[in-house]
Amino acid sequence: MESLGDTLWDVVISGTGLQQSLLALALSRSGKKILHIDPNEFYGGSEAAFSLQDAKSWVTHASNGSCGLVKSASIALPEDATGLSPSRAYSLALAPQLIHARSAILSQLVSSRAYRQVEFLAVGSFFIFSPSRDSAEASGLTRIPSTREEVFSTTAISAKEKRLLMKFLKFVLDHESSPHLETWQEHADSPLVDFLQKEFKMGGELQTYIITLTLSLDGQINTRDGLAVIRRHLSSMGVYGPGFAAIYPKWGGLSEIAQVSCRAGAVGGAVYMLGTGIETMEIAEDEVELHLTSGDNIKTRMLVRADDSPSGQTGVGRLVAVVGSPLTSLFEATVEGAPRPAVALIAFPAGSLSTAAGEESAYPVYLSVHSSETGECPVGQSVLYLTTLATGNVTGILERALDAFIHATSDSQAPQVLYRLQYEQLPGADTARAEGPIFTFPAPSPSLSFDDSVLEPVQEAWKKVMGEAAAEAEYMVFEDREGAMDDDVYE
């Protein structure tokens, strides 16, 4: 076999995170010579999914400071916990983002035919946690009504609030045309909560419902973005079946999409090397010479990589916990004929939690609960992904949220926490950079639902690699490969 150094590569892609992998997919029919490397021994980069063993080595790695955008990673196993299954029965996702049905990534996966290798599951209800106000009242979870039918049938809010909510949902669906446009435009850059208060006279509880639908990490999303996100939520409802607006890729979320994309790259002839990073490089005008950690020296016309230096802004605290209960009541289909959801979302509004030391949660905490259907844990268990802005005692707040959730869901015995993984995800550059033959993707987005802006730099990089040959209309549009056709119509 010829050696790596004998080839002049059209592009070397460094890292197998989502953006790099989508680029590999986009280039998979281009005929370009592609070398795709990753310094890690696993696929997926910041969007990877881990067995318990993988998670352990990742934590060790992260504490050496060798994962640029991760800090304070640790694992805790309760001493008395039994019932944790073998390592490979788990697939814990670093990027458990839900994907709205109207997201452009889904159209790209369909047009590129890569969707055939991904299993998607429905994301079910959004709930709000309400703390007990006095000892007589239990804390609990309230389902957020987000469709007309749900608003009608809910018993959680008064008739007056129903009318308000309905009016608002109608407004959102039509908010980009007159006269609605004029109503919100003057508030475009101020917080959505203020707009809800001023224009809709909405009280705290309804405001919380609506902010939760936006999944805003600081709860301060502005009116322009907030209305757009809620509109996306509403218009995504029912697209792929009744009763759900978002979906989730089985086996670890975006990790699975990254891997399917790399496989498409490999089918197209790209060469893959894990455990191989770039040691040094020399940049000439239209060529880069790379010295790889494998000892190979190679030449490429372009290098595409991802940014991994922290920007110094507030990061996101994450807690991943495995619990020994299927939490069945969270995963009920609410509409006739709907697929049973595998993911439920719970919001702990700002101020709803406080640590033992009396510190209140300054920002919302979001909890994404995954059933074993996601393939992320064995049957009988669930995986909980908690996220909040990393300010103050973030560890304490996340622990409190976990504890509060566990007690709010169980009427009898509280499910046992079998495993905990904690870390902080640091923000990095938020825009892509093109410098001569080097293209650098921004740092991964901390958002809880997939953000389509992630796709733009991928297409930009693709355009650079393709040069003259780039035909936008053909971006990510492929025929099925031979044999992959769906020949199975039931006789």
């Binding site: 076999m1 696993f42 696929y43 073998p86 490979r88 029965a89 697939s91 889904l106 996966l109 369909v110 969707y115 055939r116 290798q117 991904v118 299993e119 998607f120 599951l121 429905a122 792929y240 079946g241 759900f244 979906i247 086996w251 891997q259 790399c262 496989r263 790259g265 490999a266 089918v267 197209g268 002839g269 790209a270 060469v271 893959y272 090397m273 894990l274 455990g275 299927p326 069945t328 697929p339 049973r340 595998a342 074993s372 259907e373 393939g375 049957v379 490969r481 044999g483 992959a484 056709m485 769906d486 020949d487 199975d488 119509v489 039931y490």
Partner: protein, 233 residues
């Protein structure tokens, strides 16, 4: 479920092929999927993805087959293929001793890294090049394997003993004549435990296997109850 002639429960099984270059991995898939054979096949670049159904008496298994290739030098591709795979076909060429060593290496890696409970079949291919494998008769027990004029270099006994020790299914095949090829896939389909086909096992989930499909979200157009059963995507 909408149909009166209720279709059999159907599940997808991800299967990966591993083995040294030129042992006949792609040829086995081609035989299984298209019932075809090409004498001097172009080597697969990277990897290919194919699907084929296998009808069992009580259920239908749709194999999603990942054929790896060309990059044995950079073992990096394999983890991506055997991740979440429920079955693996580890192939060697029974006229080539080094290929069994490589196969054992793959078996060890699968046992170490793949999903717990993965069904592994060890397959000795190119049986047609041996005395006992030629043409009609598969019954020449006494061919033994050491006869002159026989290209066989790995005896059935040796590979079979190894397979038994490791708990693998074992077959000798010829992609060229088609001998034993369907049998390998059927045996794998039968060996997949029913429990690993249905991730859905809520209490009272009586048609759990069919439920697996029911929970999938189909991105390909409107949810048609007939298409839903057949289409895995």
């Amino acid at each position: 479920m909408a149909d009166s002639s209720a279709p059999k429960p159907s599940s997808s099984v991800k299967l990966v092929l591993l083995g040294e270059a030129a042992v006949g991995k792609s040829s086995l898939v081609l035989r299984f999927v298209n019932n075809d054979f090409q004498e001097n096949k172009e080597p697969t670049i990277g990897a290919a993805f194919l699907t084929q159904k296998c009808n069992l008496p009580t259920r239908t298994i749709k194999f999603e087959i990942w054929d790896t290739a060309g990059q044995e030098r950079f073992a990096s591709l394999a983890p991506m293929y055997y991740r979440n795979a429920q079955a693996a076909l580890v192939v060697y060429d029974l006229t080539k001793p080094t290929s069994l060593i490589k196969a054992k290496h793959w078996v060890a890696e699968l046992q170490r890294q793949a999903s717990p409970g993965i069904v592994i079949a060890l397959v000795g291919n190119k049986l047609d090049l041996t005395e006992d494998g030629t043409g009609s008769g598969g019954d020449a027990e006494d061919a033994g394997g050491e006869d002159s004029g026989d290209a066989r270099k790995i005896s059935t006994e040796e590979a079979k003993t190894y397979a038994e020790e490791e708990g693998l299914l074992f077959f000798e095949t010829s992609a060229k004549t088609g001998f034993n090829v369907t049998e390998v896939f059927t045996a794998i389909a039968n060996a997949i435990p029913e429990t690993s086909l249905k991730t859905a096992r809520g209490p009272g989930a009586s048609h759990a296997a069919a439920r697996t499909e029911e929970q999938r979200v189909n991105l390909n157009g409107p949810r048609d109850p007939n298409a839903k059963e057949g289409c895995a995507c």
